[in-house]
C-alpha cells in the first residue's frame, strides 16, 4: 500500500475517499502474518469529514447488486454475489445450514435387529440419510399432531442375510417407501378395538397430486448402512418428518455451504525475468502467468486471481513488497452443496424466502 507523507498530501477531493482509505474500505488485506482491515466500517458517517457518505442506500444496492452463476450442477451451485454486505451473505449461509427444512428419519420402529449394530446406532445412521422428498409439500409434525400423510414419510426395511452365505452389505436402497403409511400395528390395551397403526394416513401419499409425479425415496442408493452376517436380519420401519438443521444436523439441507471473498492479487511492482518464472512456479494454484514483453523480456501477470487459496507462498520472504493479496469485501463466491432433497439453487431461494419472512416478522412486530 502506498503511503504519502503528510506534507505533500494532495487536496482531498470532496465526496470521494482517498485512494488508500478507499482500498481499506473495500478490501481485506491478507498480509503474510495476519489479515488486516478485516472489519468494514459500518458507521454511515464515518467519512463525513471528507464528504463521503458511507450509508447503505436501497437504491444503490438495487443498482449494484449482482448475482453471477459460475457453476451449476444437480446438487451444487457456485455463484458470485456482488455488492452485498458480509452480514447478509452470512445470513444466507446460516439460514441454509440451520433453518431451511428438509425431511429426515426421526423415528425408527425396530421389529427385529439381530445384526451386530445396536438399534440406536442403526437408527442414528438411518437418520443421517438424505431423503429425496420436497419438504415444502409437508408440514411440521408438532407434539400433539398425529402422524399423517401430510407430515410423515414412512419407509420400511426388511433385510435378511442367508444362512451359509456371504456377508450382506445393507445399503440405503433397502429402504422402501410406504406411501400408505405404517404397516405396523400398535399394541392396544383393549383387544376388542381394531388395532391402529402408528400413522393415520387418510390416503396414499402416492395419490397426492404434488407427489404422484415424483415418488419419494432415498437420494443416494449406495450409502452403506450396515453389514449382516449369515443368518442375521433387520426388520424395521422408519418415519421421516420435517425439521431444521438447528435441531439436528440431519435436517440440514446442505452438506455444507460457505462463501469466500473474491481474491484480488495485485502486482505492486513489475516482476520480470527470472523472478517472474520463479513466481509462477511458486504458486501452487497457477495464479500467475508469464507474458512476453518483447526484447526477450518476460513479465509476470496475474491471470487467475480467483484460484488463489491464500497459501501466501508468493508473499513469503521478501515477496510482500511485490505482491499484495487482498479480498474484495463485497464480492462473495458462494457455494452451496445440497444433500439432495432440493436442488442447490432452489435451496438458496428458500433461504432468501426465510430471510424475507423474518424481516417481515420484525417489521410487523415493530409496527
Amino acid at each position: 500500500m502506498s503511503e504519502t507523507a503528510s506534507l505533500n498530501m494532495q487536496d482531498i477531493p470532496q465526496g470521494q475517499l482517498p485512494e488508500h482509505i478507499e482500498l481499506q474500505r473495500a478490501r481485506v488485506f491478507c498480509k503474510a502474518d495476519a489479515p488486516v482491515h478485516t472489519e468494514d466500517v459500518e458507521y454511515s458517517g464515518a467519512y463525513a469529514a471528507v464528504g463521503f457518505d458511507n450509508s447503505l442506500q436501497v437504491d444503490d444496492f438495487r443498482r449494484d447488486f449482482r448475482v453471477e452463476i459460475k457453476n451449476l450442477s444437480m446438487d451444487d451451485i457456485e455463484f458470485d454475489m456482488i455488492g452485498i454486505d458480509a452480514s447478509l451473505a452470512n445470513a444466507f449461509r446460516r439460514i441454509l445450514i440451520a433453518e431451511v427444512p428438509t425431511m429426515a428419519i426421526e423415528k425408527v420402529l425396530i421389529v427385529n435387529n439381530t445384526s451386530v449394530m445396536a438399534d440406536e446406532i442403526l437408527s442414528h445412521r438411518l437418520g443421517l440419510l438424505p431423503i429425496e422428498a420436497d419438504p415444502r409439500l409437508f408440514d411440521f409434525l408438532s407434539e400433539n399432531d398425529t402422524p399423517n400423510e401430510r407430515n410423515t414419510i414412512v419407509f420400511k426395511m426388511e433385510v435378511h442375510c442367508k444362512k451359509r452365505g456371504p456377508r450382506l452389505t445393507v445399503k440405503s436402497d433397502q429402504l422402501k417407501w410406504l406411501p400408505n403409511g405404517s404397516e405396523l400395528l400398535m399394541e392396544s390395551p383393549n383387544p376388542s378395538t381394531k388395532p391402529r397403526s402408528f400413522t393415520s394416513f387418510s390416503c396414499s401419499q402416492a395419490s397426492l397430486p404434488q407427489i404422484s409425479g415424483r415418488p419419494i425415496g432415498m437420494k443416494h442408493l449406495d450409502i452403506i448402512i450396515t453389514q449382516l452376517g449369515p443368518g442375521q436380519s433387520i426388520e424395521l420401519e422408519a418415519h421421516a418428518v420435517k425439521g431444521t438443521g438447528k435441531v439436528h444436523a440431519k435436517w440440514s439441507p446442505v452438506g455444507t455451504t460457505w462463501y469466500r471473498m473474491l481474491p484480488e492479487v495485485k502486482l505492486l511492482k513489475e516482476v520480470r525475468g527470472n523472478d517472474a518464472e520463479k513466481l509462477v512456479k511458486k504458486c501452487p494454484r497457477k495464479v500467475f502467468d508469464v507474458e512476453d514483453v518483447g526484447h526477450a523480456m518476460k513479465k509476470a501477470v496475474v491471470s487467475r486471481p480467483r484460484d488463489c487459496t491464500l497459501c501466501r507462498e508468493c508473499i513469503s520472504g521478501a515477496g510482500e513488497e511485490n505482491i499484495a493479496l487482498r479480498r474484495v469485501r463485497d464480492h462473495f463466491i458462494f457455494t452451496v452443496e445440497s444433500t439432495g432433497a432440493l436442488p442447490a439453487e432452489v435451496l438458496f431461494t428458500e433461504a432468501v424466502k426465510i430471510l424475507e419472512e423474518k424481516c417481515e416478522r420484525v417489521i410487523s412486530e415493530l409496527s
Partner: protein, 1150 residues
C-alpha cells in the same frame, strides 16, 4: 515405508542425507514381534514352568513316606499338564477362554501324575497313570492353551480376538494378570551403605532349598557378619576361623598383596584375638554362644553341628559345600571382603541398587512355580499325615492304598485363591506379597497391552526416596522412559520397552564345561595368593566363583563367539568388569535383554540381501540370531558394547569428521530401531521426541482411559463395564509402533479437525468448544455396556427362587413371557429385569420343596440400577449355571451416549480438556475451502505445555488428508524415514493449496467477516476419555442418612450429601458467618433434640406418654431443659460414658 516426495530430496544437506549403504532394518521389528510377541516374556516364563520347572519341583519332592513305616511310600514318576478341561459329573468338558469368561469359570488344566506306591504286605508295587492331583490355571496363549498356534480364523471360531496378546489367566471369569515383579538380583554381591552410613556388602542367596540373606558391614573399622541365626554381629575373622581358615596370613593372602587391605582387616583380626579365638574349635564354640533362640526349634541336633549346619545352609547358602569342604565359601567370603574394602578405598566401586543390571524381573512362571511348589509340598505332607492316621487305625484286613489319600483340592483351591486375590502368602519361602495379580484392565486395547508390560516395584510405594524413581541410564532400550504413573508410583512402576525380552533360567552344566575348556582354572586348585594375581580375572557364573582366567578379554570373546554360533544359549551374557577384575557369565532367569545388530568395526553384519531374504520370507528373525547377525545383550553386557544408533552415523575412520568422539572401529553393535526404547503405550504418541517429556508421561496414563475398540470379540464379551466408541478411527498420523501392536485396527479416538483459536470464553482452562453438527453426525459418540447379574438362589432347605411370567404390571414392560427382560427392550431406572420370587420360608425343612404354592412365594424382583432419566437398552441376556449349579442371568445393558458439556477429551500429547460449550455449526468459523472445525482448542494450551509434537501432528494429519497417504511420526524417526519431516509435510500442504505453516484464513460464522488472524487448523487425533459427566454429576436435597450418626451418607453411589469440610468451615468462621455454620453443620446435617438435666448435666429422655422429661440419673424430672445439638455430639457423649468418661453439660440461661 517412508515414501518421500521426490522434489524434497535435493534440498537436504549432506549431513542428514542417509548414506546409501544404510540398511533399513525396520522389517526386523514385525518379525521380532511375530516370534517374541508383545507379551512373550510372560508366555515364555509360563511355558518354562509347565515344561521344565514343574518337573524339577516334582523330582525334588517325589517321595511321600508313611512316617511309621518308611517302606510304605508313594513315588511320583511323571508329571504333565493337559489341555484345559472341566470335569462335570462323569464327563469332561473342553474349555475355551471365552466360555470361561462368559460363565465365570476358571480356565484351568488338570495336573496329571504317574505314581507308583507300595501296599503293605504286598511285594509288588502298584502303578497308576494319569492321576489328577489338581487343576492349574492356564495362561492364555501358552503352550497348554487351546489358543496356541491357532491362526486368525481358528481364533475367531473360538470367540477370541487375534490381537489379544494373551499372557493372563482367567479365574472365575475374571481376567487376571500376574504383574512382572522387580527384584534385586539373587546370589550377587551388592556393596552399599546402610541407613547408618556403614559400608555393607550383602548377598541374598536363593537356591531351590532355601532363601537367606548374608550381610557384612564395617562398624568402627571392624568388619562384622550379620545373620538372622546369630543374635549379635560376628566378627568376620571368627567366621573365617570357624570355616577352617585358622591362619590369619592365609586370609590376608586371599585378599591380595596390597598392604591397604591388611590395614583394613587389622582391627578385625585384633578383635578376634582379643576374644582369644585362634582355632576352628574355639570359633565354633564362640558361635554357639551367639546362636539366636528362634532357630533352636529347627535343629534338634547337637550344638556343634548346628553351627556348622548354619554355616553350610544359611551363611552364603548358594555357595555349595561339598563333603565339608568350606574352601569355596572362604574364597567367596574373601571376594566379598575385598569388594567391600575396595569400596572403602574408592567410593566409585559402590554398587548402584537402581542399576537395571542389578535387578531381576520375576515373571508369572516363576511366581506360579513358587506357589505350586508350596502347595505341592503341603499336599504331600497332608497325604503323609492322612496316611499315618490311617496306619494307626488300620486293621490288618484292609490294605492301605496311598492313592486313597490323594486329594486334589489343595492345589486347585490354593492356586485359584492366590491368583484371584493376588496374595502370595508362602510361609515356606517366607514370602508374603500382596497385589501380585491384578484384574486385567479392558478399558482400552492399549490399557490391556500396557498391563502386560507393567513392572511392579520392589519397594512399597510410600517411600519418599528419589533414587529409585529417577530415570536410570541403564534403562535405555529395556524399560520405557515415558510410561510411568504420576503420583506415588512415579518412577517405581515401570513398563517394558518394545523389544525387551526377559530371560528364563538356563542349564549351567554345559556352560561350566565350555568355560573350563576355554581355560578357566578352578579356584580350588589355587592358593589364596594366586587368586588375585595381577593379570588374572575371576570368572563368575551366576554369582558363583567358577575360577580364574588370565586372558579375560580373549575368554569373553570366545564365549561370545560360541553364543553367536548357538553353541550356548542366545541369552547367556558375558560381561567383563574391568574394575572388579571379574568376568561375569550369566544364564539365570529374569534378566532383561534386547536384540541388537552385531557390527564388525562399525560395519553392520546385516546387509541388504539379508533384509531382502527376510522380506521374501525365506529368512526369519531366528535365522538372524542363529547366524550371528543379531544377538541379545543384557544390561551388563551392554557395558562392554558400543552401540550406534544408525549405521550411517558412524563416521568413516581416519577421513571422517574430526570431531567425532567415537572411532568407527570401536563400535560393536547397532540399534535395530531407535524408537524401540519406548514401550507400547508411549509408542502411540506421534513425534514424542518433540514434546516436553512429562507430556508423554501424561499421555501414557491417558491413552489407557481412551475409549475405542477393545478387541474383535468385544461384543461377545461380558465385562462389568465396557466403553466403546461408535465410530473409532485410525489416526491419520500414525507411528510404526501403532502398526506393530495393532492400534490401527483397534483405534481409540477420532481424527477431529481442530482450530487453534479462542472462542466464546467457554474455552478457558483447557476446555474445548465442540461443533454441535459434528456431534449430531457421530463424533465422540460412545456406548457404555454395563453388566448386571441375577442369581436364582437355592436355599438351605432346598427351596429355591423362581422366575415367573409377569402380569401386566407397571415397570415390567421389558419382561418377556419367561419373566426375564428381553434383548432390545428399553429399560429405565427401577424397571424390573427379572420377575423373581423367593420362598417365604427359606430355613425350615419342607417336605416337598418343589410343590410350594404361589402364596408361599414373595416377590423379590430385580430392578435395573442405572442413571436416572436415561433410556438404556438391554443388549444381551445370558443364562448359565455357576459353580454351585445355581442358575444365573447376566444382563448386558447398553447406553449410547453423545458427548455433552463436561465430557473429557484428550489429544495424544497429554493435553486433556473438557467440553466447555457446544456451539451450532453456523456459529463456527469456516475456511475458504468450506471446512468447519469439529472442535476449537484454546491456544493457551501450547506455550506452557510445549507440545510441539501436537503441532506437527496437526500439520502431518492435514497433509495426510490432502495427499491421501497416512503420515508417520515415529519417535526419533526423521533420520530413518519413519517420521515425516516438517519441511516435507509443509511442502505437501503448499502443493495442495494450503499455507506452508498450516494457518488458514477463517471467516467468523457469527459476523461473516474474516477473522483477524490466520488460524492454525487441521486434524488431530482426539481420544474420548472414560470420565463422563453422566457418571459423575450429583446433587441432593434430602436423602439417606447413616444410621449410626444420623448424618447424611457419603458418596454419589449412596446419594450422599456434599460435605462442608474443615477448611470450608474455617473460611466461614473467619468470615463470621455463624448462622451459616449453624445451619450447615447442624440443621442440614443431624439436628437432635435432647433433654439435659441441669443438676447432673447428663442426658435424660422425654416420656411421650406422660409428656414429661426425665433424668434417669437423678430420678427426677424437675430440672430438665431441652436442647438441640448434633446427633453425633449426643453419640459422642454416650460413647464416652460407655468408656467411663462422664461428660456433663453445664447450662446457663441465655
Amino acid at each position: 515405508m517412508g515414501y518421500r516426495e521426490k522434489d524434497s530430496v535435493e534440498t537436504h544437506n549432506n549431513h542428514a542425507k542417509p548414506i546409501k549403504s544404510a540398511v533399513d532394518k525396520f522389517a526386523l521389528l514385525p518379525e521380532f514381534l511375530k516370534v517374541r510377541g508383545l507379551v512373550k516374556q510372560h508366555i515364555d516364563s509360563f511355558n518354562y514352568f509347565i515344561n521344565n520347572e514343574i518337573k524339577k519341583i516334582m523330582k525334588t519332592n517325589d517321595r511321600i513316606e508313611c512316617p511309621q513305616d518308611p517302606s510304605l511310600y508313594l513315588r511320583y514318576t511323571k508329571i504333565s499338564i493337559g489341555k484345559p478341561v472341566e470335569y462335570m459329573e462323569h464327563h469332561a468338558e473342553k474349555l475355551t477362554p471365552n466360555i470361561c469368561r462368559l460363565s465365570d469359570r476358571t480356565y484351568a488344566s488338570p495336573i496329571e501324575v504317574d505314581i507308583e506306591y507300595t501296599v503293605p504286605n504286598q511285594t509288588n508295587k502298584e502303578y497308576k497313570k494319569g492321576l489328577v492331583i489338581g487343576r492349574i490355571p492356564i495362561m492364555l496363549r501358552s503352550s497348554c492353551c487351546v489358543l496356541s498356534g491357532k491362526d486368525e480364523a481358528e481364533l475367531a471360531k473360538l470367540g477370541e480376538c487375534p490381537l489379544d496378546p494373551g499372557g493372563y489367566f482367567i479365574i472365575k471369569g475374571n481376567e487376571k494378570v500376574i504383574l512382572i515383579q522387580e527384584q534385586l538380583s539373587k546370589n550377587r554381591i551388592i556393596i552399599d551403605t546402610d541407613s547408618k552410613g556403614r559400608v555393607n556388602a550383602s548377598v541374598t542367596s536363593s537356591t531351590h532349598e532355601t532363601k537367606t540373606k548374608t550381610v557384612f558391614f564395617i562398624d568402627k573399622d571392624k568388619i562384622y557378619l550379620q545373620l538372622n541365626q546369630f543374635s549379635k554381629p560376628i566378627s568376620i575373622m571368627i567366621i573365617m576361623k570357624a570355616m577352617g581358615m585358622e591362619n590369619d596370613q592365609e586370609v590376608m593372602q586371599m585378599l591380595g598383596r596390597d598392604p591397604k587391605y591388611g590395614f583394613l582387616l587389622f582391627p578385625s583380626m585384633q578383635e578376634c584375638r582379643s576374644e582369644k579365638i585362634i582355632t576352628q574349635k574355639q570359633a565354633l564354640e564362640y558361635l554357639q554362644g551367639k546362636l539366636a533362640n528362634l532357630s533352636s526349634l529347627r535343629f534338634e541336633i547337637n550344638k556343634d553341628d548346628r553351627v556348622k549346619k548354619i554355616l553350610i545352609n544359611v551363611f552364603l547358602a548358594h555357595v555349595p559345600v561339598k563333603d565339608g569342604n568350606f574352601r569355596p565359601k572362604c574364597i567367596y567370603t574373601a571376594v566379598m571382603l575385598k569388594r567391600m574394602m575396595d569400596a572403602v578405598l574408592n567410593v566409585e566401586t559402590f554398587d548402584d541398587k537402581d542399576y537395571v543390571g542389578n535387578k531381576r524381573l520375576e515373571l508369572s512362571g516363576q511366581l506360579v512355580a513358587l506357589l505350586f511348589e508350596d502347595l505341592f509340598k503341603t499336599m504331600n505332607s497332608q497325604v503323609a499325615s492322612r496316611m499315618s492316621k490311617a496306619y494307626d487305625k488300620a486293621s490288618r484286613s484292609t490294605p492301605l492304598y496311598f492313592i486313597h489319600y490323594m486329594m486334589s483340592d489343595t492345589i486347585t483351591n490354593g492356586l485359584e485363591r492366590a491368583i484371584s486375590t493376588g496374595n502370595w502368602d508362602l510361609k515356606r519361602f517366607k514370602m508374603n506379597r500382596k497385589g501380585v495379580s491384578q484384574v486385567l484392565s479392558r478399558l482400552a486395547f492399549i490399557a490391556t497391552l500396557g498391563y502386560m508390560t507393567r513392572v511392579s516395584p520392589q519397594f512399597e510405594k510410600t517411600r519418599k526416596v528419589s533414587g529409585p524413581r529417577a530415570l536410570q541410564p541403564s534403562q535405555w532400550g529395556m524399560l520405557c522412559p515415558c510410561d510411568t504413573p504420576e503420583g506415588e508410583g512415579c518412577g517405581l512402576t515401570k513398563n517394558l520397552a518394545l523389544m525387551t525380552h526377559v530371560t528364563t533360567d538356563e542349564e549351567e552344566g554345559p556352560l561350566i564345561k565350555w568355560c573350563r575348556k576355554l581355560g578357566v582354572v578352578d579356584v580350588e586348585d589355587l592358593s589364596g595368593e594366586e587368586l588375585h594375581a595381577p593379570d588374572s580375572f575371576l570368572v563368575m557364573l551366576n554369582g558363583l566363583i567358577l575360577g580364574k582366567h588370565t586372558k579375560p578379554q580373549k575368554f569373553a570373546n570366545a564365549m561370545r563367539k560360541l553364543r553367536r554360533k548357538s553353541v550356548i544359549g542366545e541369552f547367556v551374557s558375558i560381561f567383563v568388569h574391568e574394575r572388579q577384575r571379574c568376568v561375569y557369565v550369566a544364564s539365570d532367569g529374569g534378566r532383561v535383554c534386547r536384540p541388537l545388530v552385531i557390527a564388525d568395526k562399525g560395519v553392520s553384519r546385516i546387509k541388504e540381501y539379508h533384509m531382502k531374504e527376510l522380506r521374501d520370507g525365506v529368512r526369519s528373525f531366528y535365522d538372524f540370531v542363529r547366524e550371528g547377525l543379531i544377538e541379545y545383550l543384557d544390561v551388563n553386557e551392554e557395558n562392554n558394547a558400543l552401540i550406534a544408533l544408525y549405521e550411517h552415523e558412524i563416521p568413516k575412520d581416519g577421513h571422517g569428521e574430526d570431531n567425532a568422539d567415537v572411532q568407527k572401529s570401536s563400535i560393536t553393535h547397532i540399534e535395530i530401531e531407535p524408537f524401540t526404547i519406548l514401550g507400547v503405550v508411549a509408542g502411540l504418541i506421534p513425534y514424542p521426541h518433540h514434546n516436553q517429556s512429562p507430556r508423554n508421561t501424561y499421555q501414557c496414563a491417558m491413552g489407557k482411559q481412551a475409549m475405542g475398540n477393545i478387541a474383535y470379540n468385544q461384543l461377545s464379551r461380558a465385562d462389568t463395564l465396557l466403553y466403546l466408541l461408535v465410530y473409532p478411527q485410525r489416526p491419520l498420523l500414525t507411528t510404526k509402533t501403532i502398526e506393530l501392536v495393532g492400534y490401527d485396527k483397534l483405534g481409540a479416538g477420532q481424527n477431529a479437525t481442530v482450530a487453534v483459536m479462542s472462542y466464546s470464553g467457554y474455552d478457558i482452562e483447557d476446555a474445548i468448544v465442540m461443533n454441535k453438527s459434528s456431534l449430531d453426525r457421530g463424533f465422540g459418540r460412545c456406548i457404555a455396556l454395563k453388566k448386571q447379574i441375577v442369581v436364582k438362589e437355592i436355599y438351605s432347605n432346598e427351596t429355591s427362587d423362581r422366575i415367573v411370567r409377569p402380569q401386566n404390571e407397571p415397570r415390567k414392560q421389558a419382561l418377556d413371557a419367561d419373566g426375564i427382560a428381553a434383548p432390545g427392550q428399553i429399560v429405565r431406572r427401577h424397571d424390573i429385569l427379572v420377575n423373581k420370587q423367593s420362598p417365604r420360608n427359606k430355613k425350615d425343612r419342607i417336605t416337598n420343596p418343589m410343590a410350594l404354592k404361589d402364596c408361599d412365594y414373595a416377590p423379590s424382583n430385580v430392578s435395573y440400577k442405572g442413571p436416572e432419566g436415561e433410556t438404556t437398552v438391554v443388549d444381551r441376556v445370558m443364562l448359565y449355571s455357576d459353580k454351585d449349579n445355581k442358575m444365573c442371568v447376566k444382563f448386558i445393558i447398553r447406553h449410547v451416549r453423545r458427548p455433552e458439556i463436561g465430557d473429557k477429551f484428550s489429544s495424544r500429547h497429554g493435553q486433556k480438556g473438557v467440553i466447555g460449550t457446544i456451539v451450532q455449526q453456523e456459529d463456527f468459523p469456516f475456511s475458504e475451502e468450506g471446512i468447519c472445525p469439529d472442535l476449537i482448542m484454546n491456544p493457551h494450551g501450547f506455550p506452557s505445555r510445549m507440545t510441539i509434537g501436537k503441532m506437527i501432528e496437526l500439520l502431518g494429519s492435514k497433509a495426510a488428508v490432502s495427499s491421501g497417504r497416512f503420515h508417520y511420526g515415529s519417535a526419533f524417526g526423521e533420520p530413518s524415514g519413519h517420521a515425516d519431516k516438517v519441511e516435507d509435510i509443509s511442502r505437501t500442504l503448499v502443493k495442495h493449496g494450503f499455507n506452508y505453516s498450516g494457518k488458514d484464513l477463517l471467516y467468523s460464522g457469527i459476523s461473516g467477516k474474516p477473522l483477524q488472524a490466520y488460524i492454525f487448523m487441521g486434524p488431530i487425533y482426539y481420544q474420548k476419555l472414560k470420565h463422563m459427566v453422566l457418571d459423575k454429576m450429583h446433587a441432593r436435597s434430602f436423602g439417606p442418612r447413616v444410621t449410626l450418626t444420623r448424618q447424611p451418607t457419603e458418596g454419589r453411589a449412596r446419594d450422599g450429601g456434599l460435605r462442608l469440610g474443615e477448611m470450608e468451615r474455617d473460611c466461614l468462621i473467619a468470615y463470621g458467618a455463624s448462622m451459616l455454620i449453624y445451619e450447615r453443620l447442624m440443621l442440614s446435617s443431624d439436628p437432635y433434640q435432647v433433654q439435659v438435666c441441669r443438676q447432673c448435666g447428663l442426658l435424660g429422655y422425654y416420656n411421650h406418654k406422660l409428656k414429661t422429661s426425665w433424668c434417669s440419673m437423678c430420678k427426677t424430672g424437675d430440672s430438665m431443659s431441652s436442647l438441640k445439638l448434633p446427633y453425633a455430639c449426643k453419640l459422642l457423649f454416650q460413647e464416652l460414658q460407655s468408656m467411663n468418661v462422664v461428660p456433663r453439660l453445664k447450662l446457663t440461661e441465655y
